[in-house]
């Protein structure tokens, strides 16, 4: 395949966002179009490095002429589209969507923007009661990462990362149907017995803390996890010649977590077991 050395500029489409006219490249999603004029739309299941699964629906916006609200993260813009991102209709729906989520799963460890959005929409999960909340024990099957599906919002990110979007291992998938569906290996066997190769990419994309490095989990249990005291050092992984960017999260002179920047051209945020978990060797040599 011969790739054209010069990227052809995409043609521009005129649309309206919250009353403002903008010209945006053809093929952009509503979310991308909003970003060009700094209009913020909340997202949860969406991650720029993964194919949108549009399962969470917190990103819905109003599009003139459309009967239903549409997901901004995956809907492409069309000429003349008139979009309202914060109409009363949109806000009401977002409030209920967050409430439905928060009344079924534990969202205490979601990211800051999500917490802010939930406050902005006056999210009150308690008005739904707690009948539908399920309790599942935290799965601790190895020293590398834990799975706490009481925090899982079924965003499918880990499945995508383990499957065709990154790792191509397909160790986990959604099992069951409806509210009782869950992320699982076959017959829910333990990870060490499954096809999992411990790349940790699922952990890297999980937005809720349902998947967590065991180091972090243990420190949180012990009450010693403290992000304000952590600093991040960027380095290049030395295990092989590919050159993956690593971000080492260090607290009290110990590496407590390894991530990779989403926008890094080599990794798109994904790593392998050596880069992700190899630091334990570095540290044991130190000790």
């Amino acid at each position: 395949m011969i790739e054209s050395p010069v990227e052809m500029p995409a043609s521009l489409i005129d649309i309206t966002i919250d009353g403002r006219s903008v010209a945006v490249s053809e093929g952009a999603t509503i979310l991308e179009a909003c970003a060009t004029i700094d209009v913020e739309v909340p997202t949860l299941c969406y991650l720029e490095t993964l194919t949108p699964f549009n399962s969470c629906r917190v990103c819905v916006v109003e599009v003139e002429g459309s009967r239903n609200l549409v997901p901004a993260c995956s809907r492409e813009i069309t000429p003349g589209m008139e979009i309202s991102t914060e109409s009363a209709r949109v806000q009401g729906i977002r409030k209920t969507v967050y409430e439905l989520l928060a009344s079924t799963v534990d969202m205490s460890l979601v990211d800051e923007p999500t917490k802010q959005a939930m406050a902005r929409y006056n999210v009150d999960p308690d008005r739904w009661g707690t009948w539908a909340r399920q309790h599942r024990d935290v799965k601790i099957e190895d020293d590398l990462y834990i799975r706490d599906y009481d925090k899982c919002i079924m965003c499918y990110r880990c499945v995508a990362a383990c499957g065709p979007d990154a790792q191509n291992t397909f160790a986990i998938d959604v099992a069951g149907r409806g509210l009782s569906s869950t992320i699982a290996t076959e017959f829910d066997i333990a990870l060490p017995d499954s096809a999992c190769v411990y790349c940790g990419n699922c952990v890297g994309v999980c937005p809720t803390g349902a998947l967590m490095f065991t180091s972090e989990f243990r420190m949180r249990e012990a009450g010693t996890w403290n992000e304000t005291e952590q600093h991040v050092t960027t380095t290049i992984c030395s295990f092989c010649g590919i050159g993956c960017n690593l971000e080492l999260h260090v607290q009290d002179n110990r590496i407590v977590k390894v991530t990779s920047p989403l926008d890094h051209s080599v990794t798109s945020g994904h790593l392998c077991i050596k880069g992700r978990f190899g630091y334990s060797y570095v540290q044991s040599e130190d000790a």
Binding site: G92, A171, S194
Partner: protein, 590 residues
């Protein structure tokens, strides 16, 4: 035994495939809505699961691993697919499992008493007794019979028993030979279907069968498309989309295309497609063949729900006969056109009737809907342009081809053309499928069906995804335009009558439960919202909480379900509940 069943579907293991745990290369990546890569044999996953289920009664870990190896697909993905379906068990089950309908039409006909008796004698739903077990089931599409059982028989043929009594259930679960207490299907009024011997192609031809195909081959695709457009035929599967637009859209695409007959019929209260397939299997095959010819597809699929064993076996033998007689194959009716049909069986999941979920199900993925756009006519099955039509929609095609589109359009009303089948069930004198020209009112239909048993309480139009009406609306013509103006949907043609003896709280609760159990779980509004709706209704019934607060919650759920759900299941999940509230069936302070 498990391996034999699997090899029957996947062929004997050979050096190429056996032990091939490596994932196939990404080259055969098909671009479509979902993010998954497609593999060449993945579409055989569900048939392989069916084979083990049918021979052994459940899919063990060993069987799943063997299937995964042979397809190949990762075990986690195969498990995800197996656990999506009600009729595939991943925990050991006895050899005979009787699924007994406890859904709305059977409730109106008194199934709750039968189930109470059954529970007393055999234990709760899901209890194993000897080599058998009974389970509660959503609507089995036998609503005109008033009670229904679908029995999975490991190592034998599944059977359908309707109506069914407690004694029969006990007999079926304990005897060795599968018995077939099969009641003949109800007549379809106004057609000559009753005269056809469903096992005989000759009998079908004697009644005029395959003359429409001959005429189609003489007319050529363009004139057929014109006739379909002129006929004004709208889809009978629930969405009422104009058939002409879809047929032309697919015909205008190039390359490999597919036609699919949607025979998943799982909307509670709907059984017309079952009756059509049981009484005229060749007719459906002829219609789908014409569709394939008109849009330029050489492969068709009939996706039939797993709970229709009689229709399945009749279609399967009709397909064999048609193939032998040259009506399917490399040169259909010597018209120089190649076409064949594959019969695919669902496995207990209402959502697989949604067309994009149906594609995923055939392809061997979990039956979750895809995002639209792209629409099926652009990128459907295996990412190719695909025409999907309901059984009843297709059954109108031979008449359109034979008599012309205009003749068809002369029947019915301004926007609703042709004849329409209605499923009358519940408390009427003679439940069954009734065919009338569009324009008939609910009252006309109830009269046809022998009137109401008892005093009229309410009528459910359109199924679980539809709405309740009362006495005041009896003269509403059941057309697309009139029902739309009244803010109710015609859906799949359900007219389910409840008399004043029926406990409507129960009926509405069962509808809410249906959606909670059938939600695929992909999107939050439906996954959590359907369960919250069910819970709120329970609180409303039990009392002790503030009615206004609960109604407010139901209204919020209604909004989020309609506005933000991905597919029609979630979007319609609150319709019947809201209509029940609006006409005062439920939610009135006691």
């Amino acid at each position: 035994m498990e391996r034999d069943a699997i090899d029957r579907v996947l062929g004997p293991p050979d050096s190429l495939w056996s032990g091939a745990v490596e994932r196939s290369a990404v080259d055969d990546h098909v671009a479509y809505g979902g993010f998954r890569s497609s593999q060449e044999r993945r579409h055989l996953l569900l048939p392989a699961l069916h084979a083990v289920q049918s021979d052994v009664g459940w899919v063990s870990h060993g069987a799943l691993n063997y299937i995964s190896e042979r397809v190949p697909v990762s075990p986690a993905e195969a498990f995800g697919v197996a656990t999506f379906y009600d009729l595939i068990a991943t925990e050991e089950r006895p050899a005979r499992v009787a699924h007994i309908c406890d859904d709305i039409a059977c409730k109106a006909a008194g199934i709750d008493d039968v189930l109470a008796d059954l529970t007393e004698r055999l234990g709760e739903s899901g209890t194993t007794i000897g080599s058998g077990m009974w389970r509660r089931s959503p609507c089995l599409g036998q609503c005109e019979k008033g009670s229904a059982a679908f029995v999975q028989v490991a190592g034998g043929d599944d059977v359908s028993v309707a109506p069914v009594s407690v004694d029969q259930v006990i007999e079926i679960l304990s005897v060795d030979e599968p018995t077939s207490h099969v009641t003949p299907t109800s007549p379809v009024i106004g057609t000559s279907l009753l005269n056809i011997d469903t096992a005989s192609l000759e009998s079908f031809q004697n009644e005029g069968g395959y003359t429409a195909l001959s005429r189609a081959l003489a007319l050529g695709p363009d004139r057929i498309l014109d006739d379909i457009t002129a006929s004004g035929l709208r889809g009978r599967g629930g969405a009422a989309f104009p058939a002409g637009i879809k047929w032309n859209a697919v015909a205008n695409e190039t390359g490999t295309k597919y036609v699919i007959c949607n025979a998943d019929e799982s909307e509670p209260g709907t059984f017309k497609d079952r009756v059509l397939m049981e009484s005229n299997p060749f007719g459906l095959i002829e219609a789908l063949t014409i569709a394939g010819y008109a849009v330029g597809a050489s492969t068709g699929y009939i996706y039939i729900r797993g709970e229709y064993p009689i229709a399945h076996s009749r279609l399967s033998s009709a397909l064999d006969s048609a193939r032998q007689a040259g009506f399917l194959g490399a040169d259909v009716a010597q018209g120089g056109f190649a076409f064949d049909i594959e019969l695919r069986k669902g496995a207990g999941a209402y959502i697989c009737g949604e067309e994009t979920a149906l594609f995923n199900s055939i392809e061997g993925f979990r039956g979750e809907p895809r995002q639209k756009p792209p629409f099926p006519t652009q990128a459907g099955l295996f990412g190719r342009p695909t025409l999907v039509n309901n059984v009843e929609s297709l059954m109108n095609v031979p008449a359109i081809v034979l008599n012309g589109g205009e003749a068809f359009a002369a029947i019915g009303t301004e926007e609703s053309k042709g004849p329409k089948l209605f499923c009358l069930s519940g408390n009427v004198g003679r439940p069954g499928v009734y065919e009338v020209p569009f324009g008939a009112t609910t009252r006309d239909l109830i009269d046809l069906a022998g009137g109401i048993d008892g005093d009229l309480g309410a009528i459910l139009i359109g199924g679980a995804a539809g709405a309740f009406i009362t006495e005041n609306d009896l003269d509403l013509p059941l057309t697309f335009e009139d029902t739309r103006a009244h803010n109710i949907g015609l859906g799949s043609g359900v007219v389910l009558v409840f008399n004043t003896d029926t406990n409507m709280d129960d009926i509405v609760a069962r509808i809410a439960e249906f959606f909670a159990e059938e939600s695929c779980g992909l999107c939050v509004p439906c996954r959590a919202g359907t369960v919250r709706q069910k819970e709120t209704l329970i609180r409303l019934r039990t009392g002790g909480t503030d009615t206004a607060t609960e109604l407010n919650l139901l209204s919020d759920l209604d909004h989020v379900l309609r506005e933000a759900s991905i597919c029609g299941l979630g979007q319609a999940a609150s319709a019947a509940v809201q209509s029940a509230i609006s006409i005062g069936l439920i939610g009135e302070p006691a």
